[in-house]
């Protein structure tokens, strides 16, 4: 469902051209729990931005659900991000002025959905991540682990093809991080949700069914 072929990305920093991704090939199947692991500076984040359609590769092919998506226009990319990709960030990235419930509903707002259905759907997801009794709390009133759970509910709300998690446990202590990883594993096992976790932590990577090792701008394994 997700096929990357020879993805290259280079940045121009001053007079020199820096190649960050040097031909990445990757295939992710429906229902996979995959981790992309590598040391910092190996191009993980850039790859994540490309897979998340926040950035366009310099060259290469990126097929998502059988459609070439890498080079479409900005509005179309926004739409694909909205419908097909669920983001989970290291810093949770909840909007501080909104309640947990409103944060979860945000992707649906940009889809133009409204009404009681939306609220029901969001409550259902908050329940799924064990946060239903905190629905009306704002992020500042929640612990890191709780915020990350809300963020996961937000990623799930639009029924995306893939959940893209960038160091999802990076800001959490080991125990809470473990709980978050358990949540991902459960979602993957019970509901067949495709999850791609980007991490530098071998302990996290080991919990995934498959590990892609990144080194120096390419995937070596």
């Amino acid at each position: 469902m997700l096929i990357l072929r020879d993805i290259r990305k280079s940045y121009r920093i001053g007079p020199t051209e820096v190649d960050v991704l040097k031909g990445v090939n990757l295939e992710v199947q429906q229902g996979e729990l995959l981790s992309i692991m590598g040391p910092s500076g190996c191009g993980k984040s850039t790859l994540m931005n490309c897979i998340g359609l926040l950035d366009r590769p310099t060259s290469g092919s990126f097929m998502l659900d059988g459609v070439e998506v890498a080079y479409t226009n900005d509005d179309a990319l926004s739409d694909i991000r909205n419908r097909r990709i669920g983001f989970v960030f290291q810093q949770y990235f909840l909007l501080s002025r909104l309640t947990a419930l409103e944060n979860v509903a945000l992707p649906l707002v940009y889809r133009g959905d409204a009404g009681q259905d939306t609220t029901d759907r969001c409550m259902e997801l908050l329940k799924r991540v064990g946060m239903e009794d905190r629905a009306l709390h704002r992020p500042a009133e929640l612990s890191g682990g709780q915020q990350q759970r809300v963020a996961i509910a937000r990623a799930l709300v639009g029924s995306p093809s893939i959940i893209l998690a960038d160091e999802p446990t990076g800001a959490l202590d080991t125990q809470v991080g473990g709980e978050i990883m358990e949540l991902f594993k459960t979602l993957n096992a019970e509901e067949g949700i495709t999850v791609v976790i980007i991490t530098h932590d071998p302990g996290i990577a080991r919990q995934c069914k498959r590990v892609a090792l990144m080194k120096d701008g390419g995937i070596v394994e």
């Binding site: 991000r81 983001f87 990235f93 940009y110 133009g112 409204a114």
Partner: protein, 403 residues
Amino acid sequence: MILTSNLKEATRSLLASKQRTILALIGIVIGIGSVIAMVSVGRIVQDEALRQFKEMGTDILTIEKEFGGGLPDGGGGRPAAKSALKLDTIRAIASRCPAISNVAPSVRGTGEASFNGKKLERSGPMGVTASFLAINKLSIREGRFLSDLDEQSRFCVIGSQVAAELQKKGADRVVGSKIRIGDNLFTVIGVTSEVPQGGMRRFEPNEMIYLHITTSLRVFANAEISSITARVSPGYTNTAARDQVLAYFVSLGMGSAVRITSPEEIIAQMEKQMQMFTLLLGAIGSISLIVGGVGVMNVMLVSVTERRREIGIRRALGAKRGDIRGQFLIESVILSLIGGLVGIIFGVGASWLIAHFAQWQFTLSLGAILLGVGVSNAVGIFFGYYPARQASLLDPIVALKSD
């Protein structure tokens, strides 16, 4: 849904930074307030002037001698005809033109007036007929006005201000006092009632010394009838009356010697001038509006900078550039509209105060209010567009990385 959630978001974000919001609001309030006050005062002055003008009645025509215009003096060597409007000619207007019920010719005199050897400031002699009083809607406070039996007499009627000056200069009784104009002495036989200043008469009634027109024509050198006020008979339009008067003068071979003005023309001309005046005031007010608008832009730019990460998050979750732009645009429009509403209240209040102290009749101008709402909306869009566009063009990755 996006709209309602944007509205909600905008209000929240404005409330979240109250101090900044209030500062931007003050700018807009002053801007809109001054535009409204200026335009509204302009309207009030315009209405006031028209009201004073109409107080004299709109059923009057002004007939003036056309200066430099061709009285039939036969420029090409023919013997010059008598180049003045004659009193008999004028008196005949009312009988020859059924559309004219009454005429009041007048002569402006020259010469210094004095009482008991003391000069009377701010006074001027004017020769009139008995019909003058009624046509100019003046009334007598004391004594009587000049009558047609006073031809060639040495009587005069004075305005209230001249009367006051006489008393100041030691006259026990105003009526009966003698005023010297040039080499002639005139006995005061009446005083006209005080008339509010700034009316649309072409003279200042309170400062006049009225003589009989026949006396003035004799006493003053080079005196000639320069202006006639004619009242239109009921049932006739001003245009019909004007045509009749013109036909009358044409029949005398003096068609090009007079200029006849109807109140409509003067009103139209006045309105045009007043509109320019209002426009000018509005333009002055707009300067502060621009300053207010720049304030809004500043606040919005700061808001965009502060919320870069939020923008990045929203973009990652699927917000299109247009969504982001809309969000910030709505915020600046709300800011400007609130400022505009408060500004309208201030502006109307200020114009009420000005009207109150200037003793003008206050009128609430709906146009000014609509202008205020429209302009504040436009300010919000115009000065909010650039920051909103900046926000929408942020690269999501860069925006997410910022703190």
